[in-house]
């Protein structure tokens, strides 16, 4: 490695004190390398330090621009860390027992030092995480960053989305107040509509036929052990894949011919993954980066030297460029969360009462959209089939879009941007119209019989029909397959957001439409 030859020098603050602290065997046994002060040591320190070795030595300048990623992946990583830390602290106080849980949460909010703040951070952090996962998914989609070779990392991302929802959902029950009790009752009954296994699945989740002590301990164990463990493993896998796929998608801005340079020395392809002989992106080899470039014809030797020079300029050393951004991202999201938690208290309603249903009884806000959907069609369709098919469609997306052009660029083409905006407007108008129509007139009042018509046939017909019209309406633009997917992905995001907003802010007693300022007390489910 040559690292041992780096001569030890204390940080460039020549004081006696620093020398005293650092010039001894103990310090050096912990920190083996001096603060890196040359390009060489800045590169060498990355793989040599445990907490840095997940990074590449160099990163492409394009891929770390704020306007490319908006830092969302980093925010999520830090939010998960914050949730872990605050969650551990809350766990010192909280006992998952129906006789104690609510009281413990009250104690936390009133008696424990910083308890209210910690609980607020944990609560708002969880909500922020769900929001950030969706924004992150949108970023990756609209920049085409899921394309080959990153397809499977997108699938892992979808799994992480599901895990985030599951973590938030299991945590939702723990305060054991009216909000959590009825939200979990309504949501788990949704799962009961799954064909064949529904009811047994519901009983398995709850550990009983109704929400009670069994459900509380199950949700607790899932929330504090199993799901965080799975999440940690998948986050590691997600990051590892980013490295192995050559960094973020924006790292590969070069046209096809120039990318051939990465295959130089392809005589020994087996060794390539771990030990690329020479990288186009800098003077130092980047482990992992540049491997598996599918476009490059095997054994190609074309090396346009001018391109290589450009490529060198486009990379920055990880230390300090990326590391500083990471620190800023972590500090920024912590600051936002703490400020928010100081301003707004996490809700805590009355003690859970299995005998009195809240009116309205709403699911957690990220499932309110399904509950809203439920008002307009059969519960199995809204609660099981549509979400299940959506998750499958999301996972299949990178395998449907096989066009590799414009990966790592926002929208890619101007046409794609136009299609996205058109789809958003089209979907928003139709969704609003349908919700208002069903409330004011009602499909059931027109064709209520047989029940399969308003429950299945009409909703499915409307959804398929509107999707088909959306497709036909963009045909004059001669869209590529990716642009068609963009129209549909945008439609999904808009509908999801809109149903969430309507379900959260416009549904009052009996789930009837109401203006947000007339919501009954307890009409929000955050």
């Amino acid at each position: 490695m040559g690292l041992r030859e780096v001569e030890w020098q204390p940080i460039d603050l020549p004081t006696r004190l620093v020398a005293l602290i650092t010039n001894n065997r103990v310090w050096r046994s912990v920190f083996r390398f001096a603060y890196p002060s040359s390009d060489k040591t800045r590169a060498l320190i990355i793989p040599a330090v445990f907490f840095l070795h997940i990074h590449p030595l160099k990163v492409s300048a394009r891929s770390i621009r704020l306007t490319y990623t908006w830092g969302l992946g980093l925010f999520l990583f830090f939010l998960f860390g914050i949730e872990t830390v605050t969650g551990i602290l809350l766990a010192f106080v909280y006992v998952p027992d129906v006789g104690r849980a609510y009281q413990d949460v009250e104690t936390m909010s009133t008696t424990v030092a910083f308890g209210a703040l910690l609980r607020n951070i944990h609560r708002w952090g969880a909500h922020l995480m769900v929001l950030a996962v969706f924004l992150h998914m949108m970023r990756v989609f609209y920049t085409g960053a899921y394309k080959r070779p990153r397809e499977f990392n997108w699938v892992i991302g979808v799994m992480l989305l599901l895990l985030t929802l599951a973590l938030s959902f299991t945590g939702y029950l723990l305060p054991w107040d009216q909000l959590s009790f009825w939200a979990i009752t309504v949501s788990t009954n949704l799962a009961g509509y799954a064909p064949f296994i529904g009811e047994s699945l519901r009983v398995l989740i709850l550990g009983a036929k109704e929400v009670g002590q069994e459900a509380l301990i199950r949700f607790y164990v899932l929330h504090v052990m199993l799901l965080p463990l799975l999440m940690s493993v998948l986050i590691g896998f997600h990051f590892w894949r980013i490295r192995k796929d050559g960094g973020l998608a924006a790292s590969n801005p070069l046209p096809r011919g120039a990318q051939a340079v990465r295959r130089e020395g392809a005589e020994a392809p087996a060794a390539e993954e771990d030990d690329p002989p020479e990288s186009a992106e800098g003077t130092l080899p980047m482990p992992g980066a540049g491997a598996r470039q599918p476009e490059a014809p095997a054994g190609a030797r074309a090396v346009p030297t001018a391109r290589v020079a450009v490529a060198r300029k486009q990379t920055l050393s990880t230390w300090p460029n990326l590391l500083i951004l990471e620190i800023i991202a972590g500090l920024f999201i912590t600051a936002v969360l703490v400020l928010m938690s100081m301003a707004v208290d996490a809700p805590l309603r009355d003690l859970a009462n299995p005998d009195v249903t809240e009116n309205p009884a709403k699911a957690p806000w990220y499932f309110v959209n399904l509950q809203e959907l439920l008002l307009h069609m059969d519960a199995a369709l809204a609660g099981v089939w549509i979400p299940a098919l959506l998750v499958l469609a999301l996972m299949a997306l990178p395998y449907v879009d096989r066009d590799l052009s414009h990966a790592g660029e926002w929208f890619g083409t101007r046409k794609a941007l136009i299609i996205t905006i058109w789809s958003a407007v089209y979907t928003a108008v139709w969704t609003t119209a349908l919700i208002v129509f069903d409330e004011k007139v009602g499909v059931r009042s027109i064709i209520g019989d047989p029940a399969i018509m308003p429950n299945w046939v009409i909703p499915v017909g409307v959804m398929v029909g509107l999707s088909a019209i959306l497709y036909v309406s963009i045909l004059p633009l001669r869209p590529s397959r990716r642009e068609v997917l963009m129209a549909y992905f945008t439609a999904f995001i808009v509908v999801y957001a809109q149903l969430t907003l309507v379900g959260s802010f416009f549904r009052g007693i009996g789930m009837h439409l109401v203006e947000p300022w007339n919501l009954p007390p307890g009409g929000l489910s955050f």
């Binding site: 009954n189 109704e210 005998d355 249903t357 519960a379 096989r402 789930m511």
Partner: protein
Amino acid sequence: MGQEETEEPGFPLKLDRLKLDRRSLMAYALGAAAITLVVEGGVVTVQAIRALPKTAAFGSKFEAGKVSDFPVGSVTYFLDGRFYISRLPGGLLALYRKCTHLGCVVPWRPHEQSEDSLAGSGRFNCPCHGSIFDRYGVVKGGPAPRPLDIFPMEIDGDKVIVDTGTISTRDSYEESQLTKV
């Protein structure tokens, strides 16, 4: 897939014909053992986390009073047992209070307009999504997919006993669901 796909080392997999010499037999046995272990682990997990039967309170047999406590047309709420006893002309029906739509508790509204011919007022009205049920537990409005679930009952002397451990679902009301008195 694409014609420009480069070959990965080791791909495509080349499958030889199955060999059954001593070494490969051991390898298959090891693989089979590993798969068995995973399956067994799955079975143990599912069995271990299954819901346990209740021994007291809701989920067990529940004494609801005397037959004479229930005049025809009356609906009586049992908070601890989580059911209503509806007295119909032919007998008794123990209705589970849980809405068949999404599980909210369905309150009995004695002053709302009746949905059946047994009395002038009174019906079940779910607060969550507005499902309406009559004294038979049959859906009269709203999104609920089936009538209120029922519990089996027995009459011991004149005592009414409701078994809340067994929940029966039904698609419609039938005379046979009644416990005759």
